[in-house]
Symmetry: C2
Subunit: 247 residues, 2 copies
DNA sequence: CAGCAGATTTAGGACCGACTAAACTTCTTG
DNA sequence: CAAGAAGTTTAGTCGGTCCTAAATCTGCTG
């Protein structure tokens, strides 16, 4: 009976609280998925401060939660040195992420939400749906690989689909053009702005020039100056930069 | 500045907690809507004990919550004498009920849940959806007046549609038959059983005889003995007992 | 390598909603 | 109308998640 109850990753006795799930999700997002995306299996350590900013909470609160999560075996936490997900914690985080992104996709496709509106609603619902609900909407959607923002949706078995390696708009060279692959911000006002400009996944853009304040871009027939902070969260897949895995 | 911030019923400053909403809903359900249904505007007082049973909580916990709700002006509470919703509390309760029943209807019609499965999922979701979500699913459903159990859904303006006055199966006379109008239990096992027998809203039934242990009924070509406890939660609208308001 | 700024943790509370145990009402009934 | 019994409230705890204020650590700079 003294076999292996420690790494009993799957059969969590008491379900995690909403707050706990949120912390784990943010550790995942900040740790790796955060900006670079794609290949995870985190090695990156996340700081108390980063977490505090994301969670809109004081650093002291983060410390407390990290201790608890550490006791639960969901994170590796070393005082003053930051935190990292364990295998078990990684699974939980991916599960939450799957819920979030499936819900976003569902709200958009089944209920007609604008792609920029879905985030807030999904944020609330992600912790309250059953596995049955997850399965039904996944099926209704045809098991999509990406949500309306272009973020990869972990599969039912919690694998993250390979995302086309692409570049931030701010990193494109002058004259380069491509397709918006991902809009990586959760800020509602930024999303509204992108939506207004038609800068959603699959939209075409061309970089006209880079300036200190931002990048001048061409969308359709309109030209805009996109501030750096916005240009950085727009991931572009380049023309003829087909990374298709099997062709 | 000393105007009227007290009965500020609508613009609740801090949103109510999930628990608070649940208590209000249960006061409504037990107080009137509970069994009789229909005409509400409660006069009925609900006891601490009843609430404790429904909420799966100890009576002492109920007392504590009732005090809080009373301070918030959502219930009238008098120690040892029970509790009743105020106008403001009634509104909140109806709003929660509307969410619950719309969600049930949506899960059933849009996502293919069995009518007996929807309750549990709705119970969790009802507190976490936005008004936008409510509106979208109500619209998708075509603003239904009843949920899959036959319970009336409060309208957007929180009016409860008039329900056909009908009788419990246990109160039918021998030989009478009619249509199941409402299956008024939240017990999952009972629901499963009803679902298995095809005893869902709109199903036809005939009472063959009443016995001490229950009622013998005819459903399709099958005969069953329905225990009293089950026969009591089945509301039947009688043949030729058309109460249609306008015809 | 001392000292300092910034990041982090500790200590001590607050609030919520549950619990137990004990005290208190109210109702019923001889 | 005086018990009891049943129902209810009070008092004191607890775990969860947040907070502020005050220590403490880390890493950099001069």
């Amino acid at each position: 009976m003294a076999k292996s109850w420690e790494g009993n990753s799957s059969s969590r006795s008491s379900p995690l609280s909403e707050a706990q799930e949120d912390y784990l999700k943010q550790v995942l997002l900040l740790g790796s998925g955060g900006e670079g995306m794609g290949r995870l299996q985190d090695t990156t350590v996340v700081s108390t401060q980063e977490l505090a900013n994301r969670m809109q909470v004081k650093p002291a609160s983060v410390t407390g939660m990290l201790k608890k999560l550490s006791e639960l075996g969901l994170v590796e936490y070393e005082a003053y040195r930051g935190v990292r997900l364990t295998e078990a914690g990684y699974k939980v985080a991916l599960e939450v992420l799957r819920h979030h992104r499936l819900i976003e996709a569902y709200l958009h496709q089944a209920l007609g939400y604008g792609w920029e509106e879905v985030h807030a609603e999904a944020e609330k619902l992600e912790h309250h749906i059953s596995e049955a609900f997850e399965q039904r909407i996944a099926q209704w959607l045809g098991h999509p690989s990406h949500d309306p923002h272009g973020d990869a949706i972990p599969s039912a078995s919690l694998e993250l689909p390979q995302t086309n390696a692409n570049r931030r708009l701010s990193a494109l060279k002058t004259g380069e053009s491509g397709m918006v692959a991902r809009v990586a911000t959760q800020d509602q006002d930024s999303l509204n702005l992108f939506a207004h400009l038609g800068l959603k996944p699959s939209a075409q853009v061309k970089v006209l020039e880079h300036l200190p304040q931002g990048s001048r871009v061409l969308i359709g027939n309109e030209r805009y100056l996109l501030p750096v902070s916005l240009a950085q969260v727009l991931w572009i897949s380049l023309e003829g930069d087909q990374q298709d895995e099997k062709v």
